[in-house]
């Protein structure tokens, strides 16, 4: 028993010594770390991360996972590049009741003017071909903050992920949120086409922030077969696809703003004297008979409507000078 008592004491003493040694090591390391104010994720971040560390707000440190956190790239920022030197925040003035906020903050309730917030980003990102036309763009002139759409302190910025990007845009663009669920649409909910495939939210020369110089040039990036020029052009098509199409989604087929013949009749004189109608819901006097002509109202109203015959609405390259003439977009 005595022997065991000695062994026990020895074990406890040895353990205590080692633990003390370990603790001393940790303590020393912490002391050194504090003294050197070791940067955690960004070059020069110790000024901020001595307080805002993983215990305070681990989300902040996730910036290390992003392109901003690539320390080997000498262009990447430190905390104060965006938030300002913030001397009063770091060293709270004695007469201040509360610690002042950093010089620049980016939350929704921030008192920092949006232009100043955006300048923190644009001072670097203005020299970028995707953002060269930010100044004067709809988003810039309407005081949209970069951080309204982008999350900086996360590896997965929702607006840069194809599946989640539309939800970010729908925060403001409510009408499109409904349109993209209609039966005729682009594959936006599936993440195969996203807002930024057609729009450059950072500014462009085209209308509606379309990526290329015009609506048509943007549409042609995927629908180049519509570009022509053709032997027989359809002028509204050449001028602006959106004369007929609503690209965010429609109930009518082919993303048409309205179903034919109502769409076509906004410009064109129709065939025949009859009102639009459908099979099975006609007055006796208007039902099809064996003498009904091809320009009967059913052929114009149902199926593909006017394009049952005028199939080449985007233009025809048929050069034939014989009748029936291709100029009526029939072949």
């Amino acid at each position: 028993m005595k022997h065991h008592y000695k062994e026990g004491l020895l074990t406890i003493a040895a353990g205590a010594l080692l633990a003390l040694a370990g603790a001393a090591f940790v303590s020393d390391a912490l002391a050194q770390q504090t003294a050197a104010r070791k940067d955690l994720v960004l070059n020069g971040d110790a000024k901020c991360t001595r307080c805002h560390d993983a215990d305070d707000n681990p989300q902040i440190l996730e910036i290390g996972k992003t392109k901003h956190g690539t320390r080997a790239d000498g262009r990447t920022p430190t905390c104060t590049s965006c938030h300002g030197e913030s001397e009063n925040h770091i060293n709270k003035p004695a007469n201040a009741a509360e610690r002042p906020k950093p010089d620049r903050t980016f939350t929704k309730k921030s008192s920092t003017p949006i232009a100043e917030r955006n300048e923190a980003c644009m001072s670097c990102h203005r020299n970028d071909s995707q953002r060269s036309h930010w100044e004067g763009s709809q988003h810039q002139s309407r005081d949209v903050a970069c951080t309204s759409c982008h999350q900086i302190h996360t590896a997965h910025d929702a607006v840069r992920e194809k599946l989640s990007q539309p939800q970010v845009c729908f925060t403001c663009h409510k009408e499109q949120r409904t349109q993209i669920n209609r039966p005729s649409r682009h594959p936006i909910p599936e993440g195969k086409v996203v807002c930024s495939d057609c729009h450059n939210p950072h500014g462009s020369v085209g209308p509606k922030l379309v990526k290329r110089d015009s609506v048509n040039d943007t549409c042609y990036t995927c629908h180049m077969e519509k570009r022509g020029p053709f032997v027989h052009n359809h002028e509204p098509v050449s001028e602006d696809c959106m004369n007929c199409h609503q690209p965010h989604g429609t109930v009518a087929e082919n993303l048409l703003k309205a179903r034919p013949p109502f769409l076509c009749h906004q410009c064109h004189t129709p065939h025949g004297p009859n009102i639009v109608q459908v099979l099975g819901q006609q007055t006796p006097g208007q039902a099809l008979s064996s003498t009904s002509t091809g320009k009967n109202v059913i052929n114009i109203s149902m199926a593909r409507g006017c394009t049952n015959c005028h199939t080449q609405v985007h233009g025809s390259n048929n050069p034939s000078t014989t009748e029936p003439s291709p100029q009526f977009m029939l072949r």
Partner: protein, 754 residues
């Protein structure tokens, strides 16, 4: 003390020591995990989808879940950053078990160079399915065969698939110069539901006397003909970027090239098809008119498919800071586009003498300059000018011969030259009470090349060479309190234009000035809506309320009203009205649970008047949408989420009779028909998405996804719904869509991180 107890004591001591000494190392590892991007994961699982292709055709339009009831779910991610060099290596795979797969590989030394390769498949399955006897779908020579009765043929589906390969990269040459390049190759294959139809014109296949439309002679036909798609698109862009402290400029080239492997479509058509009545569908086929060129021969003439075309654009774009508070943007671009595919090579004959191809040339010039200034802290100014000229230099030739028209035959091809000049000026000032007020004016002028006398423009009453639109707008934004911000905006626009030219008559007539057209043209004419005079008024407003730290609410409303004034005050589009109200809310129930909800109602409506065939229509789409979502983390290892959404579109057509109708019999017939009206078209979709992700351990998760969708699409476009007969093509082909679809998808995955 036994040997084992001694060992146990020593182990305890050693463990204590090791733990104590390694504590900083563990801390470093934990910090690395929280701050380093390195990710390696693979997700493998299976998905089951209910129903068949008809009962899930709307759900599976784009998601690759049309063909098979069970699918492989395979994704992977690899991200690694070398901290010493700043070199990123990435690989990513999505939907690898589906025909919507995506693969991407990238490598970049951040700030120095970057290279990436992406492969993407996009599939579209037409929600509508044909029942037909047609053979050869997808070829340029399909054969049409008449079914004995509708619905007795085979199902024909339509699918297009894009396979896209992209390469992109950049390299910094030095601190000032960067080179960027990208290339995209896209192959598109499949079939698209298309058609062909013809009603014999007197000069083509005369239909008088014994050849008049009757129970035994058919003078017209409509056919469903699939368009064969087999094309390639290439896009290449190269940019050289240069910047100083004040200037950023890009000099670039963008080339785009379209190649269609199909030149024309030549269907084989039987000599007898259905007559126009429902009784003809199951009776004997009616022979097509055989006089002149014969309807069968006409329907077998080649149909032009999209021709090869190409464009080269050179541009200079960028921005310049005159001072930190005065900045500008600019772009100059020149585009040379051509279309010169050989007609014979496309399978098209009959071109005018001397023309083997169109020789299409379209040169475009673009110039843009914008400036922003902040002369005072409270004042911002903005100005922008944009000029674009499209110069169609395609040679004119007599392509069109159509006798029986007013104009002398033949006519030339049409060209699409136009010049657009646009600009805007805007001032924004911070008023007292923290209100920011903005006023602006926008201007747009479009000049179009009017067709000369030797060109006939079909199906419209008149054209005008120039339109101008001026928009005046203003808005106020205010932070009402620390938690509430609001805005309201108003805009008024007016579009006018030059004289209208009547193109129906031999000599162009100028409406309202000289040689004014007759009364009938004035009453029944239709004027292109893009050219008519228009006033547009818009009003919109929004309120953001951060009620508490946990609750935020946004309300938005907007409305617009357009009035179109064609020169005859009657024909074509007359008005348009849109409005939308929406309410969004987000509530953080706790640190671990967050709820969202939204709702919106809106309407898009327009009124079209047609003096020519005596109707008016008030067409509207009334839409309603709402959704709720819940996202939570009930335990440290479990993430769950649920969203429920509902959308509804109700389309109405509001038919009425042209109040200016002058033919009593037509007015009476149309009045009776208008009383019957058109059935509403209704689309509804209710969607429930559920997911749960459970972390088995540090390296592995399991995830379950459940999607349930109920869709209703009641429409009359193709008939066959709500007791109405099918619209039936001349060969008894019908097109169908299951109007009530219920689909459930269940997917389970195992995710391993290594």
């Amino acid at each position: 003390m036994t040997m084992s107890r001694k060992i146990g004591s020593c182990t305890t001591i050693l463990a204590s020591a090791v733990l104590a000494t390694l504590a900083p190392a563990y801390a470093d590892e934990a910090q690395d995990a929280a701050t380093k991007p390195d990710t390696r994961s693979i997700s493998l699982g299976a998905g089951l989808v209910s129903g068949d292709r008809n009962s899930r055709s709307l759900f599976s339009q784009y998601n690759g879940l049309r063909k098979n009831d069970s699918v492989l779910l395979l994704d992977f991610d690899y991200v690694r950053r070398n901290e010493e060099s700043g070199t990123w290596s990435t690989a990513r795979g999505r939907n690898l078990g589906l025909d919507t797969r995506e693969l991407g590989f990238g490598m970049q030394r951040q700030g120095i160079w970057s290279l990436s390769v992406d492969y993407n498949e996009i599939v579209r399955n037409d929600p509508r399915i044909a029942n037909t006897a047609l053979s050869g779908a997808g070829t340029t020579t399909p054969t049409i065969t008449r079914l004995a009765a509708p619905g007795t043929g085979s199902e024909l589906t339509f699918q297009t698939k894009r396979e896209i390969l992209g390469l992109s990269g950049y390299a910094w040459i030095n601190d000032r110069f960067q080179f960027e390049a990208s290339f995209k190759n896209e192959d598109k294959d499949g079939t698209r539901r298309w058609g062909r139809g013809y009603d014999c014109a007197t000069a083509v296949c005369p239909r008088t006397g014994v050849n008049a439309q009757s129970a035994t002679v058919q003078t017209w036909a409509l056919l469903m003909v699939p368009e064969p798609i087999n094309s390639n698109t290439k896009q290449a862009e190269a940019k050289l970027n240069f910047h100083t402290d004040k200037l950023f400029v890009t000099a670039g080239y963008y080339g785009s090239f379209y190649t269609n492997n199909n030149g024309s479509l030549t269907p084989s058509v039987p000599g007898a098809l259905n007559g126009p009545t429902l009784a003809n569908q199951t009776g004997a086929a009616v022979p097509l008119v055989t006089t002149g060129q014969g309807l069968q021969n006409v329907l077998q003439l080649p149909m032009a498919l999209a021709p090869d075309n190409q464009a080269h654009q050179f541009y200079l774009a960028g921005n310049y800071a005159f001072t930190p508070k005065v900045r500008s943007t600019f772009k100059l671009a020149y585009t040379h586009a051509t279309q010169n595919e050989n007609f014979a090579g496309m399978g098209l004959t009959g071109a005018p003498a001397g023309r083997s191809d169109l020789g299409g040339v379209l040169n475009s010039t673009l110039a843009q300059f914008g400036i922003t200034a902040r002369p005072m802290p409270k004042l911002s100014l903005l100005g922008n000018v944009r000029y674009e000229k499209k110069d169609d230099q395609t040679p004119l030739a007599a392509y069109t011969a159509e006798s029986g028209q007013i104009r002398p035959s033949p006519w030339n091809n049409t060209r699409v030259s136009n010049t657009k000049l646009g600009g805007k000026a805007e001032a924004s000032y911070l008023l007292p009470a923290n209100i920011r007020g903005t006023v602006g004016v926008d201007y747009e002028q479009i000049k179009r090349e009017l067709p000369p006398d030797n060109v006939f423009v079909a199906g419209i009453s008149a054209l005008r060479g120039k339109t101008e639109e001026v928009t005046y707008r203003g808005d106020l934004r205010r932070s009402i309190s620390e938690t509430v911000t609001g805005s309201i905006g108003l805009a008024h626009a007016r579009r006018t234009g030059s004289n209208w030219y009547n193109l129906i008559n031999t000599a162009p007539l100028v409406y309202g000035t000289t040689n004014s057209p007759g009364a009938e043209w004035v009453r029944a004419g239709t004027f292109p809506s893009m050219l008519t005079d228009r006033t547009r008024d818009k009003l919109k407003g929004s309120v953001d309320w951060a009620a508490t730290e946990k609750l935020s609410v946004t309300f938005a409303a907007e409305t617009s009203y357009d009035r179109y004034t064609p020169p005859n005050q009657i024909g074509g589009l007359r008005s348009g009205r849109n409005w939308l109200y929406s309410l969004d809310a987000s509530y953080a129930l706790s640190d671990k649970w967050k709820a969202t909800a939204y709702g919106s109602v809106g309407s898009q409506a327009f009124r079209v008047e047609q003096g020519n065939n005596g109707y008016i229509a008030n067409v509207s789409d009334r839409n309603t949408a709402f959704g709720v979502g819940l996202l939570g983390k009930p335990t440290g290892v479990l993430d769950v989420g649920a969203t429920l959404s509902y959308v509804q579109d109700l389309n109405r057509f509001g038919l009425g009779v042209d109040p200016f109708g002058t033919t009593p019999a037509t007015v009476a017939a149309n009045s009776a028909q208008a009383a019957l009206g058109l059935p509403d078209v209704t689309f509804r979709e209710t969607r429930l998405n559920l997911f749960a992700n459970y972390a088995i351990d540090k390296r592995s998760d399991v995830r379950l996804d459940v999607i349930h969708v109920i869709t209703t699409l009641n429409e009359w476009t193709w008939g066959g719904q709500n007791g109405l007969p099918f619209f039936t093509y001349g060969d008894n082909t019908t097109v169908q869509l299951n109007p009530n679809q219920h689909v459930t998808f269940i997917g389970a995955r195992y995710i391993y991180k290594f």
